[in-house]
Amino acid sequence: SRPAISVTARDPPVGHERSRRLTSVGCNSVEKKIYVNLNYTVPCVRLLNATHQIGCQSHLSGNVGVLHVLESEENLDWVLHSGLTPPYLVILESSLFTRYSEHTLKNGSSRVAGVAVVTPNANPSQGTSPHTSCPNENTGVYTENYDPTMARCNVTVWNPLGTGLSYEEFDFPIFAMKEDNDTQVIRQCYMDHNRAGNGSTPQYPLCAMQLYSHMSAVTDTATCMRRNNINFSLSPEMVCDPLSDFNVWASTRPLNNTAKGHKEGESVVLAAARLDSRSFFFDIAPGAESGVSGFVALLAAAHALRNATQEAPPPRNILYAFFHGETFDYIGSSRMVYDMEKNNFAVDLDNIHSVLEVGQVGLHAESRLWLHSDPVSRKNSSVNEESAASGLNVSVEEPGFSQPLPPSSFQRFLRARPIPGVVIEDHRSAFTNSFYESMYDNAEYLNISYPPDLTPDEQLEYVTDTAKALTEVATVVARTLYIQAGGAESRLGSINADPQMVTRILYGFLVRSNNSWFQQLIPSDLVSHLTDRPTNFYVGVAQQPGKPTLLVQYLLANLTGIVVSDTCFNNCVFVLLPQMYSYLWVQGAAPPNSTERVGFCMRSAARLSKALSPAFDLHEYTSKDYSTWTESRWKTIKGRIFLVASHELEMLTLGVGVGVLLTSLMLTYIMSSKADILFSSGREPANATY
């Protein structure tokens, strides 16, 4: 914006233009008259792996296109063939954003400058998943070497509604917008200027939009990592970052974390769940059924097992592991397996007795859970599930036919060793989740609903039906773990998950994370990370643990740990040794008659371990064994709308300018060469000077 000084007392039109519209003379620049900036824009970004680049790209100076609001698929013809003013920037309702539209739009990409998708406030009625139909097919255990009949989803297509849209490459930007004021302005602009009346062509000036989402990385991970390392300038410019975050893990019996490698005599039951999710657009990943249902059930199970494992400890240890980055070719679990193989983790693969993984369990219709196991390596007595589920409202069965494991972290452990294990899911064969890895996989899809007129605190405590159902699942998981760890069956009746806990955790992750319970569980410097919106579980590229990872760690610490009393902040954070336990300082609640929170030190076994694909440590950027996903970097992501004038008018302006310049050059030359004649008075002497 231009400074106010040029508004001041002067002749030309500028100052007075503003006086017509101002109520206060501020910094009102010409730019504000031309552009309307969009507030909420969510782009689709470029991701790269060993062989491909996926996602969207715009020009360095943004993509400009004439607005066109698409109402039905017939209107596509105007954009792709018959429209007179290409390139167009298409605004679509989300329901039209189907693969068919995208294919047609992709093919006509010289006439399509970009797409803006208006996402509705409610979920669509028909399920659609932008993920592939066979998730993580190259990095699981079912390769041609292991069992060719089961590779590439030959037996079961896990995600039949998958369109693969998230894994397509587009050379124009695709942004998501909400139904808010900006969208109204856009539609109004389209109606006023671009709408052709009764078959006539719309006249210039036309309403147009510009989208900026230029991505720096190209081709594949090896290329972008090579370009990251170019050292020609003092400040090398990075073009991409590997996807990474942290895994959260804890054990019921403390493990010495500084003594890495095999632990003699330790037999561990690994309880695994997945943390992360994704969608087509960047940083939107509610993952309610895809991820949250699983790890919330495991958290509640860990809480349920706290007392039983303290009072009557089972012979085997239970290791809870929450893996991050599983959506992108099992980043977290492959890293943990790699660490275990390289003796870089508290236990070894030989210490693992069996694996129990909690998959998607939020939607179970008719209260049925299914235990999936690997038919190739299955042993006779792998998991004893019947007694775990007795007396509960949930029935637990096996699929009944030879079916490979669904996409799960357990597959990475199977790649290293034939460990027995099961994966608990709510689908017998293909997913029941019709919004797998989609932005509609949210609280509404899990039917989490609250009665109207509840305050946020009341909503936090209200036990929804979904929470009750998930509590049953958590109880089954807890009891199964207890039996698997060798505990006595007589104690099973006392192991019950707490529905109050489950509903609070669900509320915190799927509705709003800025609630009073979460605020008590975290230290004061994390309070700013809590938002009034659902948590985003996209794995991201940060070197530090992401917000959901830290929340899960503090939750796990609270649910499985104990309070160390009479310990001040300094002791807790700096003095107490973290070999056997981890000590975390949390800010706690304020006592009833004061506003200062009373913090305390939490001792638990909850720790973080780095979840970065081993391919980046080994510098094997074309690895077929490990995940090689990276995310491109970008400079600006924004959008704005404005009017464009016709090309003819612009050329006319240039022509007039050049004409004026040439005319004045000519006239001035003539006049200056004849200046003596023109400007003499005729009768005065030659040296008159005045």
Binding site: T8, A9, Y35, G657, V658
Partner: protein
């Protein structure tokens, strides 16, 4: 709107000024110096006027539109008066400088006449005034959009460029007439310059009705141009001589070197 609009408007606004500079001023270092000094004087007048306006805006009621509009009018009038005052100050300075130069130099004639100084200083005022008028508008015209999404007129860029061209030329004509009036003690000429400057500035309050502001401005430009032509020593006879290409014979007849 794009590069073509940017260059088009730049050439419209600064075309005559560039032509004048190239052919009449660029080769004479003394004229260049006085041009820049003139531009500087205009700049100082703008600084003073904007200081007063800024202070008055700060102490005023920012929410009252009528008061802000009134302040703007006050600011415009003040700026015009200050510009003309600084033109007079520059005139006085140049007179003193010329006398000083004459006593110092060995030649009998002044290196630069007051008429030339009038023209150069007027053009200097015009350059700086034009730059401040139009440069920020040109900067925004480079982007892909044009004005209009909030309902403003589309012809903003073009009319700003034409107005700027008129202002630059007007400053040049005002300079000539002003200095001529001061030399010959014709104070009514000075008053007429100030009055026409005020009229042109206040005409811009008509915007966005660009016809209402541009057409009278160009009429005044034409009239001022004629007056400046006569004040600079031109006459209808000279014009006819030039146009009918009889100037060579005229020179030969009067033995005047070309």
């Amino acid at each position: 709107m794009t590069a073509s609009v940017f260059f088009g408007c730049t050439f419209i606004a600064f075309g005559p000024a560039i032509a004048l500079f190239l052919f009449t001023i660029a080769r004479e270092p003394l004229r260049v110096i006085f041009l820049i000094a003139g531009a500087f004087f205009w700049l100082v007048s703008l600084l003073l006027a904007s200081l007063v306006w800024f202070i008055s805006v700060q102490i005023s009621n920012k929410d009252s539109a009528a008061q802000q509009k009134g302040l703007l009018v006050f600011g415009v009038v003040l700026s015009v008066l200050l510009q003309e005052a600084f033109r007079f100050a520059y005139y006085k300075l140049l007179k003193k400088a010329n006398e000083g130069l004459l006593t110092l130099s060995q030649e009998e004639t002044m290196p630069i006449s007051i008429r030339q100084l009038a023209y150069v200083s007027g053009l200097g005022f015009g350059f700086m005034s034009g730059a401040f008028s139009v440069v920020n508008i040109l900067a925004d015209s480079v982007g892909p959009g044009t004005i209009g999404i909030h309902g403003d007129s589309q012809h903003y860029f073009l009319s700003s460029a034409f107005m700027t061209m008129a202002i630059i030329l007007l400053h040049m004509f005002w300079g000539v007439v002003f200095f001529d009036g001061c030399e010959k003690q014709r104070w009514w000429a000075v008053a007429a310059v100030v009055a026409s400057h005020l009229i042109v500035s206040c005409l811009t309050f008509q915007n966005p009705e660009y016809v209402g502001s541009l057409v009278p401005t160009y009429v005044i430009l034409f009239l001022m141009g004629v007056w400046a032509f006569y004040a600079a020593g031109g006459s209808l006879r000279n014009l006819k001589l030039c146009l009918t290409c009889k100037d060579k014979d005229f020179l030969l007849a009067n033995h005047r070197p070309r």
